[in-house]
Every structure is written in structure tokens, then in C-alpha cells.
Symmetry: C2
Subunit: 244 residues, 2 copies
């Protein structure tokens, strides 16, 4: 449904789609999709949401890497978002996850701001929350404590993640996208003082139909394999509410 | 709508209500409310959600502290949840936030498991995500880095939060419920190496009608006052995507 007459200019809506299950989209996210003229997404896995909630006739752009194409460059994505918005179209940029924690939405948001295009940020349910709950891990009793959420897809020598610091900070550690570096991560957390027998839940596809969960201990994390992307939930053993 | 004939026994649904705005509830949370026989909540601030989505005739129990009552004891809450569930009622336990990070749902979930009552955990949108997005803080560009989320309502001498460790771990720090200890927290983070001029966004009521946001720097955090509860978003200055 492309606009007939130009409308008042509206912000480009960045929408966090949540961890995967279509019914974990928020109402606000759904409302934005329902009136979209253009929906831009990264993966075919979000097609189900778009099919359900966006108008049949809206323009759909898949800008991530697929078998048919390389991922679009940041500038090309920002240009198409800006162009459609300036043409008076209602534009939704649908991103997996919550839109904030370890999200790659940042560059695009900054690129639109640099182009003076208004943006609206609609938060979603975080995979860093959905994965532990899918594994039945409850919050730390008492409502106290620390939750550290780390993007584990860094090159092991990349300085952005201070693994010893993460290990020492205490509380629950949730590692998103750390599949390729599980052994490295476990070694660093153990070296930082985390007990080798700390319970760890490895979760693939939390809330999706293909969800898989393996429970192990920190010392064994490097030996466990699940399909990517996998989220590792490293419990706070002393305060753990983990359910066996 | 209490059940006529007893139904197949269903799990007690713990639902994360999100940061405040009714349209940030997930579809799944709404679906659970829509068929609830009993809804148990802590605060009048969730009444709007219940009014919108739960059956008019459902039983409503407010178990948090109000002007009229002390908060119910954990055992009493668990007992009523278990009793209603065993009577064949559909029970929703509605909690603010995401249900995991710094959530006090843990004790109740454990208490129900100890009573052999099945539970379903429906994740919500985290205030720790909604607050920075409300402040216009984008994720760390590059999709890398660390997000540490801390419950700041601890007694300052309570050992559960390792403030120096949090400060050293790098990345964005989100402090929930830290209003009473802002000065203490800032001092510890500066002592741990965070620059005193690190941009900080203090957010009250993110996504709600009474949302208030103040932007300051870490060294001044102790002097800023917002109504409780307030969330402090301490940016990762070196990688910050904070928008002025």
C-alpha cells in the first residue's frame, strides 16, 4: 500500500521484533507494521511476522546476506530508508531482538540522524531475556545482582569485551552469538574466578519452533555444539535460581 | 470468568508486562490475559493493562504494598497462585518488566515449583532496553561490546553488586532502581576508571505518559533527582552512540 497523496512526514520506525516467536512482538511493533508502506528486514526468518502483520501490498526489501545476494552496505540501507521516508512513505526497519543490546541497529540510526531523518525506536523482547526463561532459569532470587550481556562474536583478541572483567563482575552472564568462541570464553571466565562447575544453559532459537537447549557446566561449555546463533546463560551459582 | 467445569490443568503464566506503555505488552502476554480467570499483580499501575485485556469478570488480586495494605508475604502469594491453578483456573501472574533481569519473580517461581505447580514464563520488554532507547541512546556501533545491567537498590555495603567490577568490565552500564545510591554508584564507577565526563541519561517512567529524561555526566549523577523508579544509562564513552 504505497501512499497516494504525500502524507505528513513520519519517522522511520525501527522495530525490535523480539527473539523469534511471532507472538512475542509487541503491540506497538505490530501497529507500525500494520500501516507500513515499506518494510526493510535482514532475514527471511522475519518474513513470517511481515506476512502476518504488514499490508499485502507493502514494499519489502531484504537487505541482509542471503544465498542470492551480499548484504547491502550501510550507506545503501540508510539511503533507501531516507528516500522512502522523504517520499512520504511509512517506513518500518524490522530488526531481530530488542533493538538495543548488542544490536546492529546503531549504525543505521546514526546514519539516518546524519541525514536529518527522524527515527522512532520501538523496543522489543531481548533474546538475552528470552533464552534464560526458555531454559527455565529464573532471575536471581532477591531481585538483586548483576546481569552482564555480552556479544561473543568478537574476535578473541578484540579488546571491546573485557572477559576477565566480565568474569569478575559477578552475577549472571548471558553471551549472545558466542558459539565460535565458547571454549575461549569459558576459559576466561574460569580464570576470572567463576567455578568450573557453574551451571550453563546453551540455547538455540529460544521461543522458536526449532528451539534447542543443552545444560552443561562452564568447564564443558567448549565441547557443546548447537546450531548458530546460540545463547549461553552462565548462571550465578551462589545465587542461582536455575531449575535442574 | 471463573471456570464452570474444571478444565485440564494449565500452568500459571508469569507474564512480563514490559516497561509501562500498554502497547509494549507482547501478543503472547495479551493472549494469556484475555483468557485469565485470575490476574495477580503488584501495582495499580498495571491496572490499565488488566482493564484493557483481561475479562471483565476475572478475579483480580493486588498483592503489592499500597496505601491500604502491606505487601503479601511470598508464601501467601504462592499459596493463592497454587490454589487457583489446582482449582482449574487460568492464572496470570503479571509482573512489571521483562521477568528476568533484576526481577523479583524468581522467589515465586521457585515457590510454585516447590509446590509442584507448573509455570509458564512469558518474557517482556525490559526497562533496561526501553530506557536507553527512550533517551535516544543507540546501541554501541559495530554490534560489539558489553551491556551490564545492575539492580542499584542494594544497600551500598551489600556484596551482591561488585561495583568496581562493573566499572571495569567496560561497555554500557544500565542501573535499574538506583535512585537512592546515585552518588555512591557514580563514585565507584569513576574509581574503577570510568571518565567523570561520561554521558549519563537518567530516565523515569520510560515509555509511560509521565516519562522524564535528564542527561548529565557521571560526576554529576549524584546531584540529579528524578522521581523513583529511575533508570541510569551510563554510556560507553569510547564507543557511545549517544545522540546529543
Amino acid at each position: 500500500m504505497t501512499a497516494g497523496a504525500p502524507r505528513a512526514v513520519e519517522a522511520v520506525a525501527f522495530v525490535g521484533a523480539g527473539p523469534g516467536a511471532p507472538d512475542l512482538l509487541t503491540r506497538r511493533g505490530r501497529d507500525r507494521l500494520a500501516v507500513a508502506d515499506v518494510v526493510v528486514s535482514d532475514r527471511p526468518s522475519l518474513d513470517d511476522l511481515i506476512n502476518r502483520y504488514a499490508p499485502v501490498a507493502c514494499e519489502r526489501l531484504l537487505v541482509g546476506r542471503t544465498r542470492r545476494q551480499a548484504a547491502w552496505a550501510l550507506g545503501a540501507i540508510a539511503d533507501v530508508l531516507a528516500d522512502r521516508q522523504r517520499a512520504g512513505h511509512r517506513v518500518v526497519r524490522l530488526k531481530s531482538g530488542d533493538l538495543f543490546i548488542c544490536s546492529r541497529a546503531a549504525e543505521e540510526i546514526e546514519a539516518l540522524r546524519a541525514r536529518s531523518v527522524p527515527v522512532e525506536l520501538v523496543p522489543g523482547v531481548s533474546a538475552a531475556v528470552a533464552a534464560p526463561l526458555a531454559a527455565g532459569v529464573t532471575p536471581v532470587p532477591g531481585g538483586r545482582g548483576t546481569t552482564t550481556i555480552v556479544a561473543g562474536n568478537d574476535d578473541p583478541v578484540y579488546p571491546a569485551v573485557d572477559w576477565p572483567g566480565v568474569g569478575r563482575a559477578g552475577g549472571t552472564v548471558v553471551v549472545l552469538m558466542g558459539r565460535a568462541h565458547q571454549r575461549f570464553i569459558a576459559e576466561h571466565l574460569i580464570a576470572a574466578g567463576r567455578p568450573p562447575d557453574t551451571p550453563v544453559h546453551l540455547v538455540h532459537g529460544s521461543t522458536r519452533d526449532d528451539e534447542q537447549i543443552v545444560t552443561t557446566v562452564l568447564a564443558e561449555l567448549g565441547a557443546v555444539r548447537l546450531p548458530a546463533p546460540a545463547t549461553a546463560v552462565i548462571t550465578d551459582r551462589e545465587h542461582s535460581g536455575a531449575h535442574p
